[in-house]
């Protein structure tokens, strides 16, 4: 197959000890300390959580937003393995790596947010688990997906360790894990939207709809491509490599197509339910709604033409806009437009923010260590001189 002629993944190499990794290490140490304090003294000692806003940054940002931003692996796999667009293959491993860390850390983050974490296993234990609960579906699916992703990514480690036989056997079954790795995120990313439904009238009508599962699923796929745009540009800049424009350009076009459908669904739902008027009231919530949707509309202006999509800066900005839109969709539904009655306010405490920052630092550090030491990013020489004739 011609796709063989793509640059093979290779370790980037270089030192693991630099300013970025040191800063990440410090941030991770701070996070670990705060988690220890939380485990000894409780959630009240470390967070601003209250009974009006019982879910704060650790749930909404670390898990809901963190997992959505970790949809790169899912979105790219969808393109490569389901839509059979082999030309995007070099994007698979880096995207999967981002997803792997995003999800694994989201799973870790939810554990110390749980008020009674030592009972965590109940979620997977028949006799305890409640199949009617959206939370059950999300938790079980995310756990399974984390395992599936480690299996999907394991060829990278097997290659490095030279375990060719194990690698060969695994690759015969890989198609099944790839399929699982597409179905599982479809399920729980949709359910993260359904999570809002049971909250009823506490969620502003602009975000309270039975269409949430579709809206969240589409936004997660879009976010996946947005994050790949962002990550590719950042990785290229940090490692002084070329931006993979030949792949990012058409992928961005796919993203625009799905985003057009997303906006259609989003606004058709608002109009059908007759609540679009709420968006035109002079409220902070209406403003937040428009910023959210402006972020999804902005890429149409930034990267509409093929020429515009050849500009790495525009691709980067479009990626950032899409990420912001997806972040706001989730922040709006679960925090900003969530109203549990008068008297309740919430803004994350400094320790809460430091833990969230620590989690992102752990993702960055993990990405650097793995890409420098393991074959993830496409071999750079391939761009300069063709290795295959």
């Amino acid at each position: 197959m011609s796709t063989q002629q793509h640059a093979r993944p290779a370790p980037v190499g270089g030192s693991l000890l630099n300013a970025t990794t040191l800063v990440c290490g410090v941030l991770i140490a701070v996070m670990a300390t705060i988690i220890l304090v939380r485990l000894i003294f409780g959630l009240g000692a470390t967070t601003n959580l209250n009974d009006g806003y019982s879910w704060g940054a650790w749930v909404v940002v670390d898990v809901f937003i963190g997992s959505a931003l970790a949809c790169g692996g899912f979105s790219v796999a969808l393109l490569v393995y389901i839509f059979n667009k082999g030309q995007y293959h070099p994007l698979v491993r880096p995207a999967l790596l981002g997803s792997l860390f995003g999800y694994t850390l989201a799973g870790a983050a939810i554990t110390f947010d749980l008020g009674r974490w030592w009972n965590f296993w109940h979620i997977f234990w028949p006799g305890y688990f409640n199949v009617n609960s959206v939370m059950f579906e999300v938790a079980a699916c995310i756990m399974l997906y984390i395992i599936v992703m480690w299996i999907e990514f394991s060829p990278v480690f097997l290659e490095k360790l030279g375990l060719h036989e194990a690698h060969r056997k695994l690759s015969k079954l890989l198609f099944f894990f790839i399929a699982l790795g597409i179905v599982l995120p479809m399920m729980h990313q949709a359910s993260l939207g359904t999570m809002l439904v049971v909250m009823g009238g506490q969620v502003n009508p602009l975000w309270q709809t039975p269409m949430q599962p579709l809206i969240y699923l589409l936004s997660a796929i879009i976010l996946g491509y947005g994050v790949v745009l962002f990550e590719s540009c950042v990785a290229a800049s940090a490692y002084r490599r070329q931006v993979e424009i030949s792949m990012l350009n058409p992928m961005a076009r796919v993203m625009l197509g799905i985003m057009g459908f997303y906006l259609l669904v989003r606004f058709a739902d608002l109009i059908a339910r007759g609540v679009l008027g709420q968006a035109f009231q002079p409220t902070f919530i209406a403003l937040s709604f428009w910023i959210e949707n402006a972020c999804f509309i902005a890429p149409f202006l930034l990267i509409r033409s093929v020429e515009a999509r050849r500009n790495p800066a525009r691709l980067f900005l479009a990626g950032v806009a899409v990420m912001l839109g997806g972040i706001l969709l989730r922040l709006n539904g679960f925090l900003i437009a969530f109203d549990t009655g008068p008297g309740w306010t919430y803004f994350p405490s400094v320790p809460e923010l430091l833990v969230t920052i620590g989690i992102f630092a752990a993702e960055v550090l993990g990405y650097i260590v793995i890409t420098r030491r393991f074959p993830v990013l496409p071999r750079e020489e391939a761009y300069a001189q063709p290795t295959h004739s």
Partner: protein, 352 residues
């Protein structure tokens, strides 16, 4: 040279057609699943109604004198520590329910506050405690069945030994009732369980037991509902007999009193499919902190979506089957597998 697109192979056309079919099937599965919840799908989950022998309370705000005997009795019955909101910290003075306060009486104040139960320049009381919904959001939300609804009494109970502390119940409840103990490393959810632990000793809800005016009345919800409707049918200012304690048996301790200027609405009769705690008030319910809720519960909407998408895991397995088939055709071993390719080359054959 690198090429951007795979060279078309024979059979590409049929495969592409097949792919399109597979994808549109899988893609529309989720879409149609969510869409169908808007109409009437097979997996539709109706709003649950109260069990026939459901137990509850009737709170009549016009009878409440704000003595807060029920607040103290609730603390005692549930062995909860006091909470302070004053500088001297002499008395239990919670301002709202919490992980350690399951029942409080709140006050509506307006203008000069001269007239009881008047919306303008008046004041009124309102009890805040679990409504024991017919179709509770907290029970639907709980991933580990720590929140349960008794099939006979309908009491919504909490089991700390099952709870993982995710606090979805706290977020889901439209009344803001389940609350978490944030100040403890082993915090539990706290909420009224209608004193189910005192039934064995021949007791009923402590708040109703101690209420001096019968403003909080215990009993079967269907009896309480008839009592509430009886009161609404009386003309304001007339005299009637008010039971105290429990409406179902117990010592006779009723008394005569004046009929209040009721809102013609039994709160909890139909809200979210009905609640087992019912309320009467002279001041509009929304003004005394009771949310305006439709007769359809959000638990029913949420579970209809879940059952439509995941019922019997049919849809996930169908999509997984389609995805597995497509992925098997599209995964090229040699791309993902340098080692295997090396082995294949060694064997002198080129896999595709």
């Amino acid at each position: 040279m690198r090429t951007e697109k795979p060279a078309p192979s024979s059979g590409e056309n049929t495969r592409r057609k097949f792919l399109k079919g597979c994808l549109s099937a899988a893609g529309t599965a989720v879409a149609s699943g969510t869409l169908s919840t808007l109409s009437t799908p097979a997996a539709a989950r109706d709003t649950y109604q109260r069990p026939p022998e459901a137990l509850g309370l009737l709170y009549d705000a016009t009878l409440c004198i704000g003595c807060k005997a029920c607040v103290a009795a609730c603390k005692q019955a549930n062995d909860n520590p006091p909470e302070f909101s004053t500088a001297d910290k002499l008395w239990d003075t919670p301002l709202d329910t919490s992980g350690n306060t399951f029942n409080i009486i709140k006050m509506y104040r307006h203008g000069t506050m001269t007239t009881k139960d008047a919306e303008i320049n008046g004041y009124a009381f309102m009890k805040t405690s679990c409504m024991h919904c017919a179709d509770p959001s907290c029970v639907s939300a709980c991933p580990v069945t720590a929140m349960t609804k008794d099939p006979v009494t309908g009491v919504v109970a909490y089991d700390p030994d099952a709870c993982v502390g995710c606090r979805y119940c706290v977020v889901a409840c439209p009344f803001g009732i389940p609350k978490y103990q944030y100040d403890s490393p082993t915090g539990e959810i706290g909420k009224c369980e209608l004193c189910r632990h005192r039934v064995a000793d021949g007791h009923y809800s402590a708040c109703a037991e101690v209420c001096p005016t019968g403003a909080t009345l215990h009993g079967r919800t269907r009896d309480l509902l008839s009592e509430a409707k009886r009161r609404l049918a009386l003309s304001a200012g007339s005299i009637t007999r008010y039971p105290r304690g429990s409406i179902d048996g117990g010592p006779e301790q009723s008394y005569e009193g004046y009929v209040g200027h009721y809102q013609q609405h039994v709160y909890g009769e139909t809200e979210y499919g009905g609640t087992q705690v019912l309320k009467l008030s002279a001041v509009a319910f929304e003004k005394v902190g009771m949310p305006n809720l439709p007769p359809k519960s959000s638990a029913a909407t949420s579970e209809t979506i879940q059952h439509t998408l995941y019922g019997g895991l049919l849809m996930p397995f169908a999509v997984l089957g389609a995805m597995t088939y497509v992925a098997k055709r599209n995964v090229h071993h040699e791309e993902d597998d340098e080692g295997a390719q090396a082995a294949a080359k060694k064997a002198g054959k080129e896999g595709s």
